[in-house]
Amino acid sequence: MHPYQYIPATNITEAVSLLARYGPRARVMAGGTDLLVQLRGERYELDAVVDAKAIPELMALTLAKDGALSIGAAVPCYQVYEDEAIVAAFPGIIDAASLIGGIQVQSRASLGGNLCNATPSADGICPLIVHSGVVTLTGVGGTRTMLVEEFTTGPGRNALAHGEMLVKIDLPKPAAHFGAAYQRFIPRNEMDIAVAGVASAVTLDASGQKIESARIALASVGPTPIFAKKASDFLAGQPATEETYAKAGEVASTEATPISDMRGTIEQRHHLVGVLTRRTLAQAVQRARGNS
């Protein structure tokens, strides 16, 4: 393994200037649960690893008075799911944060790292998409924001420019009668990579019987996590019934572009998108009904 420098940065300015200086020979480290494994596996060589865990903004987790949530890019998963207010308001995120790895991994791994690592199978990204997450990116030249679904650009690739880093992910306050859920399919019960995953979020009308709006996102069935726009649009105005979920599943399945590999086949993945869309919608609706 190529020797690299370990540099703990204490503020964003220092971190981005290091990134600008080293270019692709440096990477940010949050929990390191992807980064260190990849370095040891010689997936790439680095000259510098910039540890983000001493940068206050990246470690901040704040549920604002107005109900919006801001997740610092390096906040470990356990902090998210151990906060009861967050658990109540952002169920989709919790499904993911408590699913990634086991307890040891969750004590280090961050949703920000999951997002920046940008694998199509990442369990954290689809829930952030359906919760309408917005990322804040800062570089030497300044700060910009974009939707989570626009952030990943290919397997292991993201929209970060040279010298830029992810600072935080903002999730707006969920509307009344909002519910969300994320499920993945793995052949075993733990320690596996999603063959397919689906996150669903719904906002119901006051009666709880009609879907006013919905967002669906698909994992592990394309080069990036996919925002399933057609299925999401289809659901607006539909009754919250099993028939609706099944139809949405069919639509979502057409939006998947999977490949066959050691983890599953194209047919299996299309099929699973249908199943998981159905199941997560039912779960999201149930959660929404309990959320008045």
Binding site: M1, P187, N189, R263, Q268, L272
Partner: protein, 762 residues
Amino acid sequence: MTTTEKPQEFKVVGTRPIRHDGIDKVLGRAVYGSDVRLAGMIYGAVLRSPYAHAKITKIDTSKAEAMPGVFAVMSGKDMPLVASGALDLGETVDDTAFTSDRVMAHDKVVFKGHPVAAVAAIDQNTGLEALKLIEVEYEVLKPVISLEDAMAPGAVVIHEGLIGDDLGEKVNNTNIAVHNRSEFGDPEAAFAKSATVLERTFIISRAHQGYIEPHASTAFWAPDGKITVWTTTQAPFGVRKTVSALLEQPLSDIKVIPTEIGGGFGGKIPVYLEPVAAVLSKKAGRPVKITMDRRAVFEASGPGPGGTIKVKMGVDDKGKITAATADIRYGAGAYPGASINPATAGIFACYEVPNVRIDSYDVVINMSKTAAYRAPGTPQATFASETLVGELCEIIGMSPMDFHLLNVSREGTRRPDGPVFPRIGNEACLEAIQGSEHFKSTLEPSTESKLRGRGMASGYWNGIGNKSSVTINVNEDGLVSLIEGNPDIGGTRTTIAMQAAEILGLPAEDVHPAVGDTDSIGYSDLTAGSRTTYATGTAAIEAAKMVIDEMKKRVAMIWETEYGNIEHVDGLFVSKVAPDHKFTFKEAAGKLGQTGGPVAMTGTVNVRGSGGGSFGTHLVDVEVDRDTGKVEILRYTAAQDAGKAVHPSYVEGQFQGGAVQGIGWALNEEYYTSDDGVMVNSTFLDYRMPTSLDVPMIETIIVEVANTNHPFGVRGIGETSIVPPAPAVANALANAIGVRLYQTPMNPGRILEALATKKTGK
């Protein structure tokens, strides 16, 4: 012993004492392969072939040699060119030249991960960086990966020097190392007269043992020519013999010190790193340690073979078997030796088959050479035969339990490949399952979304006896130390000590067992073949009897009487002529100094055969998610004949461990291999073994049909438990989903496909 004899009574055997090695292991003090640290030790690293099949046209190591921190570099030219010859490792026989070539390629690589060079450096990272400086040029050849390609006429031949044995005829230019046949009666005529005949072809993937501890070896080649090897192995004496043969050094100049072993299941019988570490040590003048990473373990050590098995069985109108045939083809990997003989022995062993023919093929392909994996060759063949029986029972409308009992093999039955069974526990295991709460329970009915099913299967493993030595030293405080030569994988230190304790009349805790190195204990065959508790236990009993005998002589001396007047009863030495004369073992031991000095006795045995082997029957309930094809094991019961369970907890542990490995093989484990022979899923992430969350508590029933070939009736039990799971699961799945799967892994994707086929009726 006869079947009418009353069961023996025991004081120690059959109890559950705390294992002697428990504290060390729980506290992390036990020294495993990679824990070895010696003064001046440096680290080896192995360069492995990226190709499955290629000629090596050039190796240039000069840049690596010049790198600071590098002490030595080696390649095939640093290994003697040994002649072909038999390398008898106790359970299997390998070829010396092939083994040498496997350990370090000479001029050709024949599997992805094949070692082509190695370095020794100041630390691990320097070693790995140095490997990048070694220039190797290859002329890539067409890899032969599938059995069909390997066996096709005009196939690319992997080893030009391989002379195949086709039913005794020598064959050149072939990848089929061996074709055997075992025949009895006239199966064709019997099929013609049968009421029902069923034939099916099954495919089973190669599967890795998945031991947690990767291979790790350290060697020091001293200036006086003495070689010491510390290694994680099941076969220290086998390592000694192999290192001696491969490096052409005198056997007695080599000392092998087995470390604690973090699992083996047969996979730690072959030698991989030891000769390489030794050669590097000779060049560097320092001890060299090499450890494999997980990818190397998957790619370049020996899993159990995959293969294709065609089975045909006929029955009369009562369900009695009339005839059975099988065609077993295993991919041995890059060198011959795919356990086809135990497959032949096991495939129909549970039944009385009047007419039989079994063909078996040991086929060379461009993947790592397979090794023994728990009941080598037998789970694969039994997956075929027991799944076929499950389907046959469906067709003739007979319960599998009735079918098994009607056709059961028992004492006097001729095993289809020849030997006649002595007393065995096949029927007793079936009856144990039949009487179990699980068998009598009703399976919850299937629903729209959850499909449930139940299945059963039986399995057999013969096992071996062979050579073992045990030394017992009596200490003056009345405790004894026991040295044996079998690395302890499954708790055998304790089960061997318990058998000695039984004879000595001591509690198990008073016997302190240790695994010796090859210089400190007499020759002992490997820890494998379910032989250790059985055969090495027999040696311990021998040694203990010799100790008691000698102690009686000493006691007679003290009491000034005849040796013949001393008895050893209930742990006490007593005099027949003076009833008030009594010594405990401890008292007698305290007086050895006055009666001629130390008592140290070595029992050596060469146990013939296993005494009939161990049968087992497994019962499983599964639940299939109709939407996703995911399988949940709801309930699992394993019954098996232990003869006499020395330490019942360990016996249960072996039943459970084998069942879980078999479930993994059935459901998700496979070598997912690209067309050019590269294993794609060479990590524990993607090589999907069951985790603790994927299996329920495996219920166990210990059946005890005493082994007539062991003083306490003990049978070797370590391996049988992996044989029934795959067909039991296959039968339960068929019961649940109403379609049959003939190929492992029976994973969610395949189950979904099967369900879809059923729906469309295709």
